[in-house]
């Protein structure tokens, strides 16, 4: 929820305020409600029809989940999610920047191509690409990461495009004029401005890997047993409800923590130290003067509103 800004004109009060609080409360209940049976099942050693509540409480579910090998799989899932996020986010950002600032011919077609993996039925695509990966002797785990990165890029590129759409390159130009090196512009101007979007994109990429089953099974070839594989295996059996509930609840925790972390990125409102030459290393004026602009295409003139 956004904090109301200080302006007296935008502070909602009275009915509007009550309405907003009500809608928020309804939404929170709407999202939390499906988790309630999971919580109940996690601590239910027995829960028989038609009883509305578990008939025996206990922590047998946690032991059973451990028996299924949930925790090592949990760690592997986190590692896979972080790896995919670490690769797909910068790639998505680069693609989005190039598309937004006109460095790419036929940007619409390229955008459509970038979104294509979402439209493909994953099973068919994965079976086909697996033969290719096997022929090329790509190690299974690397193959899983590669394919999941491809599946995550549409999301990261889309998020970054909206971010770059609202990105004013004049700040970069100004920093360059004031003598900042390209690296300094990246670190001090560019990255701080897109940090919140990068966080959101990385979160989505993490989710793609975190929840994947089919790619991990088929391309991983058993080398990478992640949490979804263990949960699916347990859910296929009878009497594993408590274990499945414990694992599913555990599976909600990392995305939830990441979501909170993502929302707080950029909230901190980096006290952006001025990116003037003061931050730059002293350099010979001549070098600054002869530098060409960063990109071949000059930035479009911003028309004042």
């Amino acid at each position: 929820m956004t904090r109301p800004t200080g302006s007296a004109l935008t502070v909602s009060r009275g009915a509007g305020r009550a309405g907003r609080i009500l809608v928020s409360a309804v939404l929170i209940v709407w999202f939390a409600l499906p988790l309630l049976p999971l919580v109940l099942w996690s601590f239910a050693d027995a829960w028989s029809y038609p009883s509305p509540l578990p008939t025996a409480w206990g922590v047998g579910g946690v032991e059973a989940a451990t028996g299924f090998g949930a925790w090592p799989a949990f760690v592997r899932s986190i590692a896979l999610g972080l790896a995919v996020a670490a690769i797909a986010t910068p790639l998505g950002a680069l693609a989005a920047r190039a598309l937004t600032f006109g460095a790419v011919p036929f940007p619409r077609t390229v955008s459509a191509l970038l979104l294509a993996p979402i439209a493909l039925p994953p099973f068919a695509a994965v079976l086909g690409v697996n033969v290719l990966l096997l022929r090329a002797f790509v190690p299974s785990v690397l193959g899983v990461v590669l394919v999941l990165v491809v599946l995550a890029i549409p999301y990261t590129a889309f998020v970054m495009r909206t971010a770059y759409g609202a990105y004013d390159r004049a700040y970069e130009d100004e920093a360059r004029l004031l003598g900042a090196s390209r690296l300094q512009v990246l670190r001090r101007v560019h990255l701080p401005m897109i940090a919140p979007a990068l966080g959101r994109a990385a979160f989505l990429a993490f989710l793609v890997a975190w929840s994947d089953y089919i790619v991990t099974v088929i391309i991983g070839g058993g080398e990478l047993v992640t949490l979804p594989l263990v949960v699916a295996g347990a859910a296929a059996g009878l009497g594993n409800d408590a274990a499945v509930a414990v694992m599913s609840l555990a599976a909600v925790v990392p995305p939830f923590l990441l979501l909170i972390a993502t929302l707080s990125v950029g909230r901190s409102g980096r006290a952006g130290r001025s990116t003037t030459a003061g931050g730059a290393r002293p350099r010979t004026p001549g070098v600054v003067a002869t530098r060409t602009p960063a990109s071949a295409t000059p930035p479009k003139e911003k028309v004042p509103a």
Binding site: S48, G67, V131, L132, G221, A236, L238, N240
Partner: protein
């Protein structure tokens, strides 16, 4: 799905593997030709340091625990590392093998699959199994070479293309607290269902368990299992199936929810039984019953229902894909899994409760006493009781014909 048979692929579902099958033919030959080993010592030497991936259905916590905590340490003594890969369906493992073969990879990641029935047949049609290797295993000496369950797997000749692991028996189960006078034959089971409307149902074919149940009813309405020819012929089907579908159509209104809907699989039926919505369930893996009663999933009155006409039995196996990169290690695992020590440990009701494939009468006195000393499960009778009057599986061609007939005659009545 049960613990006692790897989930069998329905023929229709197996079609997903067909495009792959078509391409497997041009695969490169595997590095380890079946004839590469003629000495068990060679196998032992090569197995040292190998890692074996056993792909198996992962929904049975007792099975998982047995492999992780008992079998894996036992094979570690031979220098073999055993890793278990859980799959929801054995077909996933087969698809992986077919893809590797199609790509011409001889260093496959699937070293062993817990398999039987349709999956085994599909693999044989694709030449995906290493064959003729089980004779090398010293433990095979303790099996009965004439045992029909080990000679053919759902009508497919085994030919040493898979090593036996457990035996299973199709079993009906009832709640003794709610069923005062249990029926004793399949015909009486159906009569009981009609006398107790809403308290009985079966999974809808083509589910594996529902499909077995329909075949058992076919044997019953045909006047016994011997009256149904094991080999499929359209003539036999046309002659025998009308009585089957008449019986099941007549039964439908008495089933749970009036037969308007059926459980999708054994797990759903088991859930209905666990919740007391029906009084009977059925499984091809009675080994799981002990644990399901012990942990309170199933009611305390859960009792196996022995049928005078007998039920169908099968064995399940460990198959070794032809392109495994650890075939020696896989053979060692299969051999250890088949040893007297492991078969006894696995048969303990509190471990896994799987029935042995060994020929107990042929064992020496010391080994036989180990089996005799096995604690009796409070729920599941010994195998010789369960398998009394048992009959063999019909050939695989019967299955799709009966399932399709059920769909058109019974489901859409």
């Amino acid at each position: 799905m049960t613990s006692a048979h790897p989930r069998s692929v329905r023929l229709a579902a197996a079609a997903s593997a067909l495009p792959l099958l078509a391409l497997v033919g041009c695969a490169a030959p595997a590095a380890t030709a079946p004839g590469a080993y003629d000495e068990w010592d060679q196998v032992l030497a090569d197995a040292k340091g190998q890692t074996v991936q056993l792909w198996m259905y992962g929904g049975d916590d007792q099975g998982n625990a047995y492999v992780d905590d008992i079998l894996a340490p036992a094979v570690a003594e031979y220098g073999v590392t055993l890793e278990r890969v859980p799959v929801t369906d054995t077909r996933d493992a087969l698809n992986r093998v077919f893809t590797e073969l199609q790509a011409g990879r001889s260093d496959g990641t699937v070293d062993l699959i817990w398999v039987n029935g349709d999956n085994f047949r599909t693999g044989r049609e694709a030449d995906a199994w290493l064959c003729g290797w089980t004779d090398l295993l010293p433990s095979m000496a303790n099996t009965d070479p004439a045992d029909p369950l080990l000679e053919s797997d759902f009508g497919t000749p085994v030919d040493g293309c898979e090593a036996p692991w457990h035996k299973a028996q199709f079993t009906l189960v009832y709640n003794a607290d709610t069923v005062a006078e249990p029926p004793t034959t399949m015909a009486e089971v159906l009569d009981w269902a009609e006398a107790n409307p809403g308290r009985f149902t079966y999974p809808a074919p083509p589910d594996f368990t529902g499909s077995v149940f329909v075949r058992e009813v076919l044997a019953s309405v045909s006047g016994g299992a011997d009256e149904v020819p094991a080999a499929f012929s359209q003539a036999a089907f046309d002659e025998l199936s009308p009585a089957l579908y008449d019986r099941l159509t007549g039964l439908a209104p008495s089933l749970w929810r009036g037969g308007d809907t059926y459980p999708a699989n054994e797990a759903e039926l088991g859930q209905l039984f666990a919740d007391g919505q029906v009084d009977m369930t059925m499984t091809y893996g009675p080994a799981t019953l002990t644990d399901l009663v012990a942990d309170g999933t199933y009611p305390a009155g859960t009792t196996v229902l022995p049928l005078e006409d007998g039920t169908v039995g099968n064995a399940s196996f460990l198959g070794l894909p032809v392109n495994s990169d650890a075939s020696a290690g896989a053979m060692v695992v299969a051999n250890v899994a088949l040893s007297v020590e492991q078969q006894v440990a696995k048969a303990k009701p509190d471990v896994w409760g799987q029935f042995t494939v060994l020929d107990i009468d042929g064992l020496d006195a010391a080994d036989r006493s180990l089996f005799d000393a096995l604690p009796q499960s409070p729920v599941v009778p010994p195998f010789d009781v369960l398998s009394r009057n048992a009959h063999g599986e019909l050939s695989a061609e019967w299955v799709p014909a009966l399932d399709e007939g059920w769909r058109t005659n019974v489901l859409s009545r």
